[in-house]
């Protein structure tokens, strides 16, 4: 029952926020709902409910391994959101806040969906609910970004429905009774029709991979993240992508049960490495620090996919990386949002000397950049080390080498852009505008807290967390 509350609380809050008449006080719905959601999801994390196998929606080990970090990220972003929406007081925020809360509720549902069709419905609903978030600024560029997001994302989501239908047909052809819960599909296992399973796998991987932003289906990401507010970028990169990732994991378990696990792992490995490579190359070329974050996100989705191809240990490592990546990306998006606001532009060509104009945000941004490029002792270093170890243990030497090469290229690309905007002498015009943006605690503490959490995951990883990741991996790989 509590697991259903995770879905209902944000949705009810969204409805209330939509009805609330006062623009000034409406933002408080965000942290309020976020707090209740976080308390609930951590309560469920520490007291995992017994999961009924046939349930369509449940807080199962996989949801337990991912959902708490989504609510944590949302809570911190919501706190930031209150200050952000105060700065943006001139814009009506009714739709924005309602959509943001709806996204949280639908994400919670998507993470807990144990039914092929239900999972698709929630992913589609999240896609649609995020549209007003991207269009919040109402500029032509924001419209353009929203259009691309909806067109590419919508095509991806349509393909994943086609894939779901093919998997349904595979089950029907194998004598299935129309039960599309993942448990039933896994039970049917080798009874699923092989050609249909493979077609379904390709379509579902492309479809949910588009939602995740894997190359070459990542084209919506730089536009959307480049134009969206920092808080939206953080939630898209840390929350929405993770639901697509768990969708791929759940489908992968079915394909594995049907005896096609080796093919699935090969495709995951290939698409993961390809995403890392494409992202690394674009990182070397981009001149916009918000688009840079998008490419960095593509790179990390590649790491997750790579991890997912490496069996049980790899999946556990990938789930670890979901946590560290979400928190660290949150830091980067929020501090980049501050810098963008103060600088008035996101391009390296126009922005310089931010360490003078916004010294604190710039410091957080630089530290976050080092964290995300896997500098110890931050969390991403350890999670990527786990992925690396899983790759070496399963004998993927060439993949490991490529992985490390891409990390190095990405490091060059990120440092180039970050130091390009932080260092140097600020433009005189920027000095005049300086009063436009004040670094209050409300916009500094949230990214700092996320950075602290990332550091904490690196230094003092609690046993209960890694146990949760391994339990989720065991759910997906019944036999190691």
């Amino acid at each position: 029952m509590k697991s259903l509350l995770l879905v209902l609380v944000p949705l009810v809050a969204a409805a209330l926020a939509a009805l609330w008449p006062w623009n000034r006080t409406r933002p408080w719905f965000l942290p309020a709902a976020g707090l209740v959601h976080t308390v609930l999801s951590f309560w469920l994390f520490f007291n995992p409910p017994a999961v009924e196998q046939a349930a369509w929606l449940a807080f199962d080990p996989l949801a337990r391994a991912v959902l708490p970090v989504v609510s944590l990220l949302f809570l911190v972003c919501a706190w930031y959101g209150v200050s952000y929406l105060r700065i943006r007081g001139e814009r009506p925020n009714r739709v924005f806040i309602a959509a943001l809360l709806a996204v949280l509720g639908l994400l919670s549902a998507g993470h807990q969906a144990r039914h092929l069709g239900l999972l698709w419905i929630f992913t589609e609903a999240v896609t649609l609910a995020a549209v007003p978030l991207l269009h919040f600024n109402g500029t032509p560029r924001a419209f353009e970004a929203t259009w691309k997001y909806l067109l590419v994302g919508g095509t991806g989501i349509a393909l994943s429905l086609l894939g779901s239908l093919c998997l349904g047909y595979a089950s029907l052809h194998g004598g299935g009774d129309g039960n599309l819960t993942f448990v039933a599909l896994i039970e049917q296992g080798a009874g699923l029709s092989r050609p249909w399973v493979l077609i379904a796998w390709v379509l579902l991987l492309v479809g949910y991979g588009t939602k995740m932003g894997l190359a070459p289906m990542h084209t919506w990401k730089p536009e959307a993240y480049g134009e969206a507010a920092g808080i939206v970028g953080a939630i898209l990169a840390g929350g929405v992508t993770s639901v697509a990732f768990t969708a791929i994991l759940r489908v992968r378990a079915v394909v594995g049960a049907a005896g096609q696990g080796a093919i699935a792992d090969h495709t995951l490995l290939a698409i993961g490495l390809f995403s890392m490579l494409v992202a690394a190359l674009f990182l070397l070329g981009t001149r916009d620090f918000k688009r840079m974050l998008a490419y960095s996100s593509v790179e990390h989705m590649g790491i997750l996919t790579l991890g997912a191809s490496l069996g049980r240990a790899g999946v556990a490592a990938a789930l670890f990386h979901v946590w560290t990546n979400s928190l660290t990306k949150g830091t980067l998006f929020l501090s980049a949002g501050n810098i963008r606001r103060a600088a008035g532009s996101a391009s390296m060509d126009a922005v310089r000397g931010m360490s003078v104009i916004t010294p604190r945000s710039a410091a957080i941004f630089v530290t976050g950049m080092f964290a995300v490029t896997a500098c110890p002792p931050f969390g991403p270093f350890f999670s990527q080390l786990c992925v690396l170890r899983a790759a070496l243990e399963t004998g993927h030497g060439a993949a490991t080498a490529m992985f490390l090469g891409c990390l190095l290229l990405a490091f060059f690309g990120l440092t180039r852009v970050v130091f390009g905007i932080v260092d140097g002498r600020p433009r005189t015009a920027a000095k005049v505008d300086r009063k436009r943006f004040v670094e209050t605690a409300g916009v500094l503490l949230p990214p700092l807290v996320l950075l602290g959490l990332s550091l904490w995951l690196g230094l003092f990883l609690p046993r209960v967390l890694s146990d949760a990741w391994f339990a989720a991996a065991a759910q997906l790989y019944p036999t190691p």
Partner: protein
């Protein structure tokens, strides 16, 4: 008997695919698309299952949504945005038609390789679905205008719906979920209208959406 009626309709829908690929006028594209929507809508009723309320509901929703509501919204968007009625293709009309025809043949050939349930052998549902999805893709890629992209998306969606008809009896939920795709289309069109009201945008040509290029 029922298979031959159904196949006739699927054949019609596949013909409309080629029409959509070959036309150079936006209103004709919208007409082809809405005719396809109506044909798709009546199919579940002709499929010979005893008529339960779920099947009728899917049929009604499809005819209303794909056949009437969305086309009329599109026409309205076209008027509000005062869009030029000519389609300027990135993939030429003849080339698109040839691609579509080749795709249809490939879909028929592929279907022979796939294992089908005995009640579905000899039905054109699978090749029809694949050919329609492909048509949607060609339109999405080959027609840069926003409204024609929406039409392409809708035809892609029609293909998925056709495939869904295979499963309408066994897994109605999955098929009904496809209605959400219509919602996506709705958001697209609302996007066009809202954007038009907010500001002037020369011709809604997505090729001009290039401010954000790397």
């Amino acid at each position: 008997m029922m298979n031959s009626n159904l196949n006739l309709l699927i054949g019609l829908a596949m013909g409309l695919n080629l029409l959509a690929l070959g036309t150079s006028r936006l209103p004709a594209l919208i007409r082809a698309m809405s005719a396809q929507g109506v044909i798709l809508g009546v199919m579940p009723i002709l499929m010979g299952h005893e008529l339960d309320w779920q099947v009728v509901l899917v049929a009604l929703a499809t005819v209303a949504g794909k056949g009437l509501l969305i086309p009329s919204l599109l026409r309205r968007a076209m008027r509000t945005a005062q869009i030029d009625r000519e389609l300027e293709p990135q993939i030429g009309f003849v080339a698109s038609m040839l691609l579509g025809a080749a795709g249809t043949i490939a879909a028929l050939a592929l279907t022979h390789q796939l294992p089908l349930l005995p009640e579905h052998t000899g039905s054109l549902l699978v090749p029809g679905a694949l050919a329609t999805v492909l048509t949607g893709f060609i339109l999405l890629i080959g027609r840069p205008k926003a409204i024609s992209q929406v039409c392409g998306y809708l035809i892609l969606e029609n293909g998925i719906y056709l495939f869904g008809l295979l499963l309408i009896k066994a897994m109605p939920l999955l098929v009904e979920a496809g209605v959400l795709l219509d919602l996506t289309v709705g958001v697209f069109i609302i996007g066009i209208i809202v954007d038009r009201i907010q500001r002037a945008f020369d011709s809604l040509d997505t090729r001009k959406l290039t401010t954000l290029h790397e």
